[in-house]
Amino acid sequence: MKRLPIFRSLCILSSFGFLALLPSLTHAEPVFNAADALGTSAQMIALGQSEGWDGSSQGLFENPAALAGVKDWSIASFYTSLLFDEVKYLSVSAAYRLSVGVIAVGRLVTQLDGLESTVLSGVKEFEPAGTFAYQHAVSKIGYQISPAEHLHVGVAATHIYTQLRDVIGHGLNLDAGFLWEMRPFSWSVSAKNILPFQNQVYSNGGVEDLPLHVATGLNVRFWELEAMAQLKTRESQLLKSVAARLSPSLFSGVMSFSGGVYEEAVLDRKNWRYGVGVGLNLRGLRLHYAYSPSQVYSQAQHHYFSMNLGL
């Protein structure tokens, strides 16, 4: 396979990445409500939503180019329950290295039962009249190759399914990204929903935009410390995040500590939030724990766990 010159590849990809930031800052409402706003792994939450550095199969949800970190194979999972433990949130993924490149599949599901439909009673008050469910599922299949020694690119096809009682929604789109690694630097650019005219279409005739989300970040390693800075677009806003990960030699690379602060877009507002966590690497089995304070009243904190296994 003929390898592209690194410099030319970087110019093309970075131009794509930064130009993509511009249209992603404007879109018509309503836009589709992406369920991955929480993060797709405990590690990502612990790094202040900094994405694109997960070298496991879970990288499929962040930047498909990050699948370059998969040596032979990888499986990963992330589960949590939110909002009074009623909302179930699960992501699973798997990746396998082929003779050329890495292929990966993943699915992220958010599920909630027990929603109540209501009727107006004879005294003009509201009464329950049955229950229904909500489900939101994002399925991805991705492929990553490395056209140059330090350059990795990846694409992922996305199918989005939404069940809103008896209204069913489907959407298709593409993600793309690249990762440039030359120690001590790594540079990640990813764009989600890059096809502009693909919407989430519902069975009741409703349509929602699938908004373009672009994230670009720089990772620098100093001795036992990694520092990360990232810009991303969400809800028509440019969001910043910084994070650090420490892997003390004292623990022989088995344990790492992470922390990050990040901006979060909610409608027209921005909030600063943070996450911290710890990771364990036990001969291919990686366990991550993250803590991030909850905004939900009376639920002071949230704990997240994820794991991945790979060789």
Binding site: E29, P30, G114, L115, T118, L164, V296, Y297
Partner: protein, 194 residues
């Protein structure tokens, strides 16, 4: 036994009572065959107990029916009982019954809206917070005691684009939480369809 005509499907029964425990409830139960009363008649003995009202610790001393007319209910008609305080009693602040929104699901298209409905036992300062499914707070506002939403009766609070600074929420599920003096009074889930 003399057959009587009841007020539609639902009747108000006004109950004055001695309050032993804080809080009341809205309850539904089936008529017992033969439980009949004349219009305007007052008195106990209809077979409604504090247990059938879904509350304990209340002594029902008097019951009256507000009004009734056609249609005639069957022996198993469902009656909604709403216990209301008499003028001589002061109730502890509480949510009576449940908080629900109507319609559910609803759409923001064509100026669509939903209303959150709940009954309060007394005038109360209420705070309402709305969250999306990943726990991000979408809106937060306070309702002073005595205003719609904080009144000692059945309240209806409108949720529309104005709630979110003119923006429509994306399709999905959102939680609403009612808070009084730092305590969650009730919560519910509303679904937005496109």
């Amino acid at each position: 036994m003399k057959r009587c005509v009841w007020a539609g499907v639902f009747l108000y029964i006004f109950v004055s009572f001695d309050l032993v425990a804080a809080g009341l409830s809205v309850s539904t139960f089936s008529f017992q065959s033969g439980s009949t009363r004349q219009a305007g008649q007052r008195g106990s003995g209809i077979g409604i107990s504090s247990q059938s009202l879904g509350v304990t610790g209340l002594h029902i001393s008097d019951i009256s029916f507000a009004s009734w007319s056609d249609p005639v209910p069957s022996a198993n008609s469902v009656l909604q009982v709403i216990a209301l305080p008499s003028a001589t009693h002061v109730l502890a602040p509480a949510l009576i019954g449940r908080v629900l929104n109507f319609p559910n699901p609803f759409s923001f298209s064509a100026d669509g809206k939903t209303e959150i409905g709940y009954r309060l036992s007394a005038d109360m300062d209420i705070e309402i917070r709305i969250y999306n499914l990943v726990g991000q707070e979408m809106a937060n506002w306070r309702i002073p005691a005595g205003e719609e939403g904080g009144d000692d009766r059945y309240n209806k609070v409108t949720i529309d684009r104005a709630t979110f600074n003119g923006r429509a929420l994306s399709a999905g599920v959102y939680y609403y939480v009612l808070i009084y003096q730092g305590q969650i009074l009730g919560k519910g889930k509303m679904m937005v369809v496109p």
